[in-house]
């Protein structure tokens, strides 16, 4: 039983990890960022490349990937997103283009292959990202087998969620973000630099995607299109949880992850996934504002 719960918990933590960044960029800023998955991918590649060239391990790769993805996110916000605030579907379409662009850039090794320069670790092939040995060896505590890598992901996800909560609800920056989220014009009229704060917020959400990328690289193939499949799951979690509600996102990730885990064990993964989609559709039909959404949007 504890085994099943642990599987559910680890599924939840992955979902939350991906949804956390989205709950910022979508929830707070009304941007459907289809390139979120590609920011995850960039985080994963940062981990691979920093391991190859800088000899960084997982722990050092985390902050680096955060910075790199945040940087890319910032650039995307400055060049594209900021012209599209308030046009939610247009953000979806434009970032869809960004997603294609980023994927193809990685595949083309930043265009270097045109000049016959090859960057080892980039390009179309699979990449391998090593995880530290002590995170891959199981050990027993009180008869319960601890899977250190999964546990590490769970702990880090909880820490990141707490950090995000703290930033959003306990800092002046967070107040400004939440004010912009509710009413950008009034926020501006109150002296909040909406452009700058939005850019930083977007960068923060993107950075979280980068961190997710490093952790995913620990158990997933690192390939240019690894982000495609995660972004939809992320959106489902955020919408079910309620746009703009961090607690809702947390709860929805927990619930959907557990449903997935329990049914995967009882039946199989395909049925479990189908049930998760069914639950998502049902929940949105019944509560379009999500489990904890506020109504103003």
């Amino acid at each position: 039983m504890s085994n099943i719960l642990f599987i559910g918990l680890s599924l939840s933590s992955i979902l939350l990890l991906i949804a956390l960044g989205l709950s910022i960029t979508y929830g707070a800023m009304g941007v459907i960022n289809m390139a979120h998955g590609e920011l995850v991918m960039i985080g994963a590649y940062t981990a691979v490349l920093s391991g190859l060239y800088l000899n960084l391990n997982l722990f050092l790769a985390l902050p680096l990937a955060f910075l790199v993805s945040a940087g890319v996110g910032l650039a995307v916000e400055r060049v594209i997103i900021r012209r599209l605030y308030g046009r939610i579907i247009d953000t979806l379409l434009a970032t869809w283009g960004v997603a294609i662009l980023l994927q193809q850039l990685i595949r083309l090794e930043f265009g270097l292959s045109f000049f016959n320069i090859h960057v080892d670790g980039l390009g179309p092939g699979f990449q391998s990202f090593p995880i530290p040995a002590f995170l891959s060896e199981n050990f027993d505590i009180f008869g319960f087998t601890v899977q250190p890598y999964r546990s590490f992901i769970i702990v880090l996800t909880i820490a990141l969620t707490f950090l995000t909560w703290f930033l959003m609800y306990r800092t002046s920056l967070g107040t400004q973000v939440r004010a912009i989220m509710r009413n950008p014009q009034m926020a501006a009229a109150c002296g909040i630099d909406v452009n700058r704060i939005s850019a930083w917020t977007f960068a923060y959400g993107s950075g979280l995607a980068g961190v997710a990328g490093v952790l995913l690289a620990g158990f997933k193939a690192v390939i240019p299109d690894m982000g495609e499949s995660v972004v939809v799951d992320g959106f489902l979690v955020v919408v079910v949880g309620g746009v703009g509600s961090l607690f809702g996102t947390l709860l929805s990730a927990a619930v959907l992850g557990q449903i997935n885990g329990v049914f995967a064990i009882l039946t199989n993964d395909i049925v479990a996934r189908a049930i998760v989609f069914g639950v998502v559709i049902f929940l949105i039909l019944l509560r379009p504002n999500g489990l904890f959404g506020f109504k103003s949007r």
């Binding site: 107040t175 004010a179 014009q185 009034m186 501006a188 002296g191 909406v194 452009n195």
Partner: protein, 230 residues
């Protein structure tokens, strides 16, 4: 204080303000009057830079602010009490007031005057803004504007949809702000009686442009009937 010249302002393709010029003197309470939809609210929003595009000149204390972003105008001392109040319902009263503080050079704090003017708000600082009545929300919106330590206060129909007894309080409040804090106030109004009591100057707007302006004493019944009756 505020000098608006040859202002044109747009929502998308449509022009809402046409070649409008007004001058608001330091310390004045300036009433902007006119029928529904003539561009009164748009004028306030244009002063704050909240419309899509504007041409012409807006000077605040002699400084050109036409091309500045909204938040800089707010930090330069323009505060806004919008139509519908725009209180953030799930922020506490305290957070709502402190929001204004982002524009203040003195840091984010609740001004003493707020405590004096609105004791009810001070007693309920932790309650969410959404539960307040219309009049209380209006007070909250004013408190928020005051928290930004403003020089110029833009108020959009502060008496709209509010019980008569509270209207008096708000009128008194405006007068005190004007006298004690030396605040210049631009007041958009439909209620001519209220404007006559509270304002020192007026401008009559039609079709996005200023038709008549001057001291409030010059607001004759004829002008009112010409531009405001339907």
């Amino acid at each position: 204080m505020l000098d608006v010249k040859n202002l044109n302002s747009f929502y998308g393709r449509s022009k809402a303000i046409q070649d409008l010029s007004i001058k608001v003197l330091d310390g004045a309470v300036f009433a902007v009057l006119g029928r529904n939809g003539v561009g009164k609210t748009t004028l306030l929003r244009t002063i704050l830079g909240l419309t899509d595009k504007c041409e012409g000149s807006i000077k605040l204390n002699g400084t050109e602010i036409t091309d500045k972003p909204t938040f800089e105008r707010a930090r330069a001392g323009v505060a806004y009490v919008p139509q519908g109040r725009m209180i953030i319902p799930d922020f506490s009263i305290k957070d709502n007031i402190l929001m204004g503080g982002f524009a203040s050079s003195k840091g984010r704090r609740i001004p003493d005057l707020v405590a004096e003017l609105f004791p009810y708000l001070m007693e309920n600082l932790e309650r969410p803004g959404g539960v307040l009545s219309g009049g209380q929300q209006q007070q909250l919106a004013i408190a928020r504007a005051l928290a930004s330590d403003p020089k110029l206060l833009l108020m959009d129909e502060p008496t709209e949809g509010i019980q008569p007894n509270i209207v008096e309080q708000i009128e008194e409040c405006i007068t005190r702000l004007n006298r004690e804090l030396k605040l210049t106030i631009v007041l958009v109004e439909q209620n001519v009686d209220f404007a006559r009591k509270a304002a020192s100057h007026f401008a009559m707007i039609e079709n996005g442009t200023c038709k008549v302006d001057g001291k409030i004493e010059a607001l004759t019944a004829k002008i009112v009937s010409q531009y405001m009756t339907i």
